[in-house]
């Protein structure tokens, strides 16, 4: 099947061809329905996405401009307060001292680690024999397949204070005192565990994508570089990396988006559901304000802030995609 597709792709190149081919000879007979047909086909999907993604996006902005609590929810009345929620949000020291740093620093660190680990694994995979590569790839797939919920519980289990295996191991290495260490109490170690969890869950995507890219680097180029006497380190930076720059850019941006809005992995860790105020990030804060405090207005404002930050990253993503080609 893949072969067929590949061959077909060859024949239908340039890629645009398939799309332009839509209207065919003979269509003029029923021009009206022809013009309608794509919209008919699109309608159900557009309705679902419009109703459940676009409209709520507008709605969340609207809610962020209201004092929206239980009373408003039950009565359906609206109480517009302008930018009050944003004023409160931006004037909140916790945002600048705790929540934003948690969100941003965690995302930067987790993304850097994810991409580096993923790339290293890809570079390892590409050098392996097919059988070994198959085994390692399967193992990586297994890591990728662990749902965020269960993955988080395993890491929590591993680091549970006192008797967690990781805590015991650190104790044996003299790096921590098992009797006193609580990895979830301090912000740094809390996010350290979260980073491990997120990197473990996220690197397979990077590894397999980069591997896919590596496999397209023509052998001649690598051989030429070897002939020129370039070492592995230089070969990577002067040949591989420039050729795969778009791949790296995309995995980085996507990982950034995912790590920015990470919720489940934080919420399910001890103290992550709002008890430990020091470890809130934008996602969990928005949720706690809304569903534990009934302050949907403020929660929505936090959600909007998160969305805006993500949109900025998305713009970067789109520019990468659109720079060299068109849709």
């Amino acid at each position: 099947m893949t072969d067929v597709v590949t061959t077909l792709r060859e024949r239908t190149r340039p890629g645009r061809g398939a799309a332009t081919a839509g209207p065919r000879p003979g269509r003029s007979r029923r021009g009206g329905t022809r013009a309608l047909r794509p919209w008919l086909l699109l309608a159900p999907a557009l309705l679902v996405m419009g109703g459940l993604l676009l409209y709520p996006l507008v709605r969340v902005v609207a809610i962020s401009l209201q004092d929206f609590g239980l009373r408003q929810l039950v009565s359906g009345r609206t109480n517009w307060v302008g930018l009050d929620n944003y004023v409160e949000l931006l004037g909140n020291a916790d945002l600048w001292r705790t929540v934003l740093p948690n969100t941003v620093v965690f995302a930067v660190v987790a993304v850097a680690l994810t991409v580096v680990v993923g790339t290293l694994v890809a570079l390892l995979l590409v050098r392996l024999q097919p059988v070994t590569r198959g085994i390692v790839t399967t193992a990586i797939m297994l890591a990728w397949a662990i749902p965020a919920v269960t993955g988080t519980y395993v890491w929590v289990f591993l680091f549970s204070p006192g008797d967690g295996l990781a805590v015991q191991a650190l104790d044996a290495l003299g790096l921590a005192d098992a009797a006193t260490a609580n990895p979830f109490a301090s912000r740094v170690s809390f996010y350290g565990v979260a980073t491990l969890n997120v990197v473990h869950h996220g690197f397979p995507f990077v590894a397999l994508t980069v591997l896919a890219g590596l496999l397209t680097v023509p052998q001649e180029i690598t051989e030429a570089a070897i002939v020129d006497g370039a070492g592995a380190w230089r070969r990577f930076w002067s040949v591989t990396f420039p050729m795969l720059r778009p791949v790296f850019a995309v995995v980085t941006v996507l990982s950034t988006i995912w790590d920015f809005k990470v919720f489940t992995q934080i919420y399910l860790m001890p103290g992550g559901d709002g008890v430990n105020r020091g470890v809130l990030n934008l996602g969990t804060w928005s949720y706690v304000e809304s569903f534990a405090q009934n302050r949907y207005g403020l929660g929505a404002a936090i959600a909007v802030l998160l969305t805006v930050l993500l949109l900025l990253i998305t713009v970067a993503y789109l520019r990468l995609l659109f720079k060299e080609d068109e849709l």
């Binding site: 590949t6 799309a19 790839t137 990586i140 965020a148 896919a212 995609l321």
Partner: protein, 304 residues
């Protein structure tokens, strides 16, 4: 959305595929490797295997460990038993949660495949006004953090009366999985040569007939890939399942697990047994779909 639901669209990459050409690295024996570098490779493989599999192993071994609740923390079950599983499914009510999750995931997959395929055909096969706008919208919408939509969707679901119902979750998950499914299927549809369609028309087939007997079989692999992603999206989702469901008879597995954080400490044996039950279907899917997923990545990464 989770990493599996990754839009792997790197078609703008500078490199081009070279199917006929030999590709570097494929055969390591081409470069005679020294013993040292092979040992290094072996070490690398070992490290990767341990890092990736250790949590999986710990989960499974704890699930089988009869003494996990008595404070046993070991890499190997001290007392092999199925008790944890029996407890989870029986008293823990997990059978119910598994059924709920399965219903939700299947609903999402079926509805998603149908809607996405129709939409993908529209954007891949037709030239129409605003086509590019629709595509850009799908791409952007994919980036909307669903975490930010909990509040409005909760309120919408409330007024529609679908809170605390599996249908509500299906609709929400459908919306989440559609953009990616459309975007991916679009590539598969586009790669089916128009000539094949035209041949069908020449044989007198209607558009509908062509769709069913030419297009559909050829994009089936794409449907498998997107279905796997939709399934996983629905199966793994936590925040909406947590927020929408009040009656525990309606819990999905991801939320049902929280029950084992009990009044008297965490029941780790049960928690890990439940986790294992949740994780296995996803792993099976990943491994079955592995070829497709990696092909998809390659196709995505190098498609011209």
């Amino acid at each position: 959305m989770t990493p599996p639901a990754a839009p792997t669209e790197f078609r703008k990459a500078t490199f081009r595929p070279s199917p006929g050409r030999k590709v570097a690295f494929l055969n390591p024996r081409d470069h005679r490797r020294s013993l040292g570098s092979r040992a290094l490779l072996g070490l690398g493989v070992g490290v990767v295997l341990v890092f990736t599999l250790f949590p999986v192993w710990l989960m499974v071994s704890t699930a089988f460990n009869g003494r996990a609740n008595a404070g046993s923390r070991s890499l190997w079950p001290e007392d092999w038993t199925l008790d944890n599983f029996a407890f989870v499914i029986g008293e823990g009510g997990f059978g119910r949660y598994l059924t709920n999750s399965l219903l939700v995931a299947l609903g999402t997959v079926l509805a998603g495949a149908l809607l996405a395929l129709l939409a993908a055909v529209a954007v891949a096969r037709f030239r129409f006004r605003f086509r590019t706008s629709v595509l850009v919208m799908i791409l952007i919408i994919q980036m909307v953090p669903v975490e930010a939509l909990v509040i409005p969707l909760f309120i919408q679901a409330r007024s529609l009366g679908v809170l605390d119902s599996l249908v509500g979750l299906v609709v929400v998950y459908l919306a989440f999985s559609l953009p990616f499914a459309i975007w991916t299927l679009r590539g598969f549809v586009a790669s089916v040569p128009v000539e094949l369609e035209e041949a069908a028309y020449l044989d007198g087939a209607s558009w509908g007939r062509m769709f069913w007997s030419v297009l559909l079989p050829l994009v089936a692999p794409g449907l498998v890939a997107t279905s796997v992603f939709s399934f996983i999206t629905a199966w793994n989702e936590f925040i909406f399942a947590l927020t929408f469901m009040a009656d525990q008879d309606n819990y999905t597995v991801a939320v049902g697990l929280r029950r084992f954080f009990g009044q008297y400490g965490t029941d780790w044996g049960a928690l890990m047994a439940g986790s294992t039950l949740i994780t296995i279907p996803v792993m099976v899917f990943f491994v079955i779909a592995q070829k497709r997923l990696t092909d998809g990545l390659v196709a995505g990464a190098v498609k011209g």
